[in-house]
């Protein structure tokens, strides 16, 4: 995900200047803080928030400078990271459910923020969590918003309560109120009220929203806001806070390249937590918001936790252990590879996953050019092999390769490349599984850093030390926290090196798979 990518670019660049310095002078701090300020402004963070943020960072950085600590750059990264997390709301906040169902959730926001789509996503997510949501169509303003909600509800498999046709006809307050009653009668335990988009300056519409709130007494009022919004985020958020007093924020369209300053501004100015993030047009492109992970993303520490969570959902743990064993005993075959790849596909978009990896910033361009069909093609090649060939690639002679190429609609060169990549990766995985560090020049500890069609990166100059100061800071932090640094450096800085990581090698698997996929 390219969210915040540019902000992290800027911050990383600003901090890179500090990297070579052994000691911080106040002048260095000021220069860095100025860079951070500009980076944040370009990311549409509200000016007041920027001032506060830079003031806090500056103060703490000066303290660090005064204490003459070593590795000041790492400290600054750490400080920025801490401050980002605290602005973004510290802990992740979960949706508050009512003690006595139904839980009423009201959605409010500007026009075009994505409320109706979000209603569908939320309904789908709630259904997955074992709830029975009811969607209430209280947007009677926008032409055919009701129809849209009905379609979205159908896609999400949720019931839609839409007594009024909309298009300016009907009273949204009554509809919302009746909706809650309808939910009680039909035993729906969650009610989602979709309201019309409204401007913060529109007093009548704000009053209407407040009336809906009064009539339905929602447990949560979610303020839906577009991640691309500019400085106006604060004015709008304040207006909605005064008008309806929302309890949480949902950020939408995070899949674009918006630098997401709105997230910082709104969270900081209203003091309300961001609860969910919406990241795409499909109903499943939706996730709970984790402030710490988002901060890591901003700083390009990657979002390993989300990635692993997704992996755990898609991967069978038993399966994963078997694969790890196979890696170790050198019996990993193309057949296993195929299976792994199919599991990988279950996890959703490869692009998005790779975007969560640390260091992904450097390969965003390549990421944009990544063709998801590459997997399909690789699959086709393997499926054109006989079971014997899949188990033992050494069988593959020229005529077999030609047959496979024909069968899969690819060229012999493609087949050759696949086999080559597979062998390399299998070798590497064997080393990793046995606890060694794979000897790949320039690869460093960054999983998936090499990318399709591009020459191998010579990015990490200092061997296995991360070239990214932020990441190194995290590694050091993990070390300081008393964690033994595991042999394979990939992602180990994230506190995963301990017990849990060993049993399920999904992380290393992924790295290898990505290397395999990305030629």
């Amino acid at each position: 995900m390219a969210t915040f990518a540019s902000l992290s670019d800027r911050l990383t660049a600003a901090l890179a200047n500090l990297r070579n310095k052994g000691r911080l002078s106040p002048a260095d701090v000021d220069a860095t803080v100025r860079e951070i300020r500009r980076a944040l402004l370009e990311a549409d963070v509200n000016l007041d928030v920027v001032k506060q943020f830079t003031a806090a960072v500056r103060e703490r950085a000066l303290e660090a400078a005064a204490s003459q600590a070593l590795n000041p750059a790492q400290q600054v990264v750490q400080i920025v990271n801490d401050e980002l997390i605290s602005i973004l709301g510290g802990q992740q906040r979960r949706l508050a459910f009512a003690k006595n169902p139904p839980t009423v959730i009201m959605l409010a926001g500007l026009q075009g923020a994505g409320k109706t789509t979000l209603a569908g996503k939320l309904a789908r997510w709630l259904t997955g969590e074992g709830h029975r949501p009811l969607l209430v169509a209280a947007d009677l303003q926008r032409p055919n918003a009701v129809t849209q909600l009905q379609i979205v509800g159908e896609q999400a498999g949720a019931t839609v309560y839409a007594p009024e046709p909309g298009n300016g006809v009907g009273d949204p307050v009554r509809v919302a109120e009746d909706g809650v009653r309808y939910a009680i009668d039909r035993q729906h335990d969650v009610v989602l009220i979709d309201t019309a988009g409204r401007l913060g300056v529109d007093a009548d519409m704000m009053k209407q929203a407040a009336d809906i709130r009064k009539a339905t007494e929602p447990d949560e009022v979610l303020f839906v806001i577009d991640a691309m919004i500019g400085q106006d985020a604060v004015a709008t958020a304040r207006a909605f806070q005064e008008g309806v007093d929302f309890t949480g924020v949902v950020l939408t369209k995070l899949d674009g390249d918006a630098r997401g300053g709105a997230a910082l501004s709104v969270a900081s100015v209203t003091g309300r937590p961001i609860i969910f993030a919406s990241t795409g047009e499909r109903l499943e492109d939706f996730e709970p918001f984790h402030p710490d992970r988002m901060a890591s993303r901003i700083l390009d520490l990657g979002d390993i936790l989300t990635l692993i969570e997704q992996a755990q959902r898609a991967f069978d743990e038993e399966e994963a252990r078997k694969v790890a064993e196979k890696f170790a005993t050198d019996s990993f075959t193309l057949e296993d590879f195929l299976q792994q790849m199919q599991q990988l596909k279950n996890m959703g978009s490869i692009k998005k996953m790779i975007g969560m990896l640390p260091g992904a910033r450097g390969m965003r361009e390549q990421l944009d050019n990544f063709d998801e069909k590459e997997i399909v093609r690789t699959e086709a090649i393997i499926q054109s092999m006989t079971p014997a060939e899949r188990r033992n690639p050494k069988l593959l002679n020229g005529s077999r390769r030609l047959r496979i190429a024909r069968g899969s609609g690819m060229t012999v060169t493609d087949v050759n490349q696949l086999v080559q990549r597979f062998e390399q990766a299998a070798k590497m995985m064997k080393t990793v599984a046995k606890g060694g560090v794979p000897q790949v020049p320039g690869m460093g500890p960054v999983p998936g850093a090499s990318y399709r069609g591009k020459p191998q990166k010579k990015k990490a100059t200092g061997g296995s030390r991360s070239g990214n100061p932020a990441k190194r800071a995290a590694e050091n932090a993990a070390l300081a926290a008393g964690k033994k640094e595991p042999a394979s450096a990939g992602g180990s800085g994230f506190g995963l090196g301990g017990g849990a990581g060993k049993g399920a090698p999904s992380e290393e698997d992924l790295a290898a798979l990505q290397r395999l996929l990305g030629r």
Binding site: L41, E42, A43, D44, N46, L47, D48, V49, K51, Q52, F53, A55, A56, R58, E59, S86, I87, G89, G90, L110, Q111, G112, A113, G114, T116, Q141, R142, P143, N144, A145, T147, Q148, I151, Q155, L199, V201, D226, M228, I229, G230, Q231, D232, A233, A235, T236, R238, A239, K253, D255, G256, D257, A258, R259, A262, S268, T270, G271, E281, D368, N369
Partner: protein
């Protein structure tokens, strides 16, 4: 742009330039990053400064520039344009040896107007049929803009057909049909759910040619400019239309609440869709849309229309003078 809101740039500038009636000499609000005990960022910000008791500025001093910077940044001008503008104004203030904030305000308006007026906001709809393709990211108000635009053109006595080529979003076609009906325009719908948008566009232009309709407006699905697959789909729509008739205008709809991301949107759409003009929507809110200055300068695309409301008449042509005046408040 009827009346300004308390958050408007005009409001901020009015205070700054001493337009307010109060002469209370409360100290200027100290910028937060100079105060040693800035509150922790987790706490909510202090409420916005009350609009009235602001010092009446008689001379231009450092505070004036700080406040001007804050005002421009808040209007989404972006750090680069803000710096440029302030440098430019500082030079002018020096040259004309003025200390009156009102001169500064006038110079600011002129400077903005000058920047905006470099581009020609005229819509070119001379071909018959004149095909207008409307593109943009999700939720900026494309469909609404088309409804208003159809009405706008109908008011000049032209016949209009709208092509509902947003076959992706749920109920987009119905939404557009409602607008078409209000505007008294014909509509060409997809024959089935999920039909290729390019084919809908093709049929619309065909329909217009067959029936001698003068203006064709094609709605497209909202797409984030980072999704290359969707961007390719759009260039296909464009290619397919061009087989029938030259495209008169490709209008990119930008939401005034958008921040600096608007720039990236414009660049991406210019590259793949060959945008010829911008439409700035939702100007009736508290957002100023200051980023269009940067967009215009970076891409050379003129703003051609502005939308400022949900009613069908809330769409007007773009006048640099009026826009600058509304922005600055003089």
């Amino acid at each position: 742009m009827a009346e300004r809101t308390p958050w408007s740039l005009a409001g901020r500038l009015r205070n700054l330039f001493g337009g307010g009636g109060s002469t209370a000499d409360a100290p200027a609000e100290a910028p937060a990053d100079t105060s040693p005990d800035a509150p922790a960022p987790t706490t909510t910000l202090a409420p916005p400064p009350a609009p009235v008791p602001v010092p009446l500025k008689r001379v231009i001093d450092e505070d004036t520039w700080d406040e001007l910077e804050a005002a421009l940044i808040s209007a989404d001008f972006g750090p680069r344009i803000t710096e440029e503008t302030i440098e430019d104004l500082k030079a002018k203030v020096d040259r004309f040896r003025t200390t009156d904030p009102r001169d500064l305000q006038r110079m600011l308006r002129e400077s903005i107007e000058e920047r905006l007026a470099k581009f020609d906001p005229t819509l070119r709809l001379t071909e018959r049929p004149a095909v207008v393709l409307v593109v943009g990211v999700n939720g900026v108000g494309k469909t609404t803009t088309i409804g208003k635009f159809a009405n706008f053109v109908r008011n000049y006595g032209r016949s209009v057909v709208i092509g509902a080529a947003d076959t992706f979003r749920a109920a987009a076609v119905e939404q557009l049909a409602t607008w078409a009906e209000r505007a008294g325009a014909e509509i060409v719908r997809p024959q089935h759910q999920g039909q290729d948008p390019a084919s809908v566009a093709f049929q619309t232009v065909e329909h217009a040619k067959r029936n001698g309709i003068e203006i064709v407006i094609i709605d497209t699905a909202g797409r984030l400019h980072t999704k290359s697959g969707l961007m390719d789909e759009m260039s296909k729509i464009k290619r397919v239309i061009e087989k029938q008739a030259p495209i008169a205008e490709v209008l990119l709809v930008l939401d005034a609440t958008t921040g600096q991301n608007g720039l990236l949107q414009a660049e991406a759409f210019l590259e793949t869709a060959g945008v010829t003009g911008l439409v700035l929507t939702k100007l009736d809110g508290s957002a100023k849309g200051g980023f269009v200055l940067a967009v215009q300068e970076r891409t050379g695309l003129p703003v051609k229309l502005i939308g400022q409301g949900e009613r069908i008449g809330d769409l007007t042509g773009f006048t640099p003078h009026v826009f600058a005046q509304n922005l600055v408040g003089v």
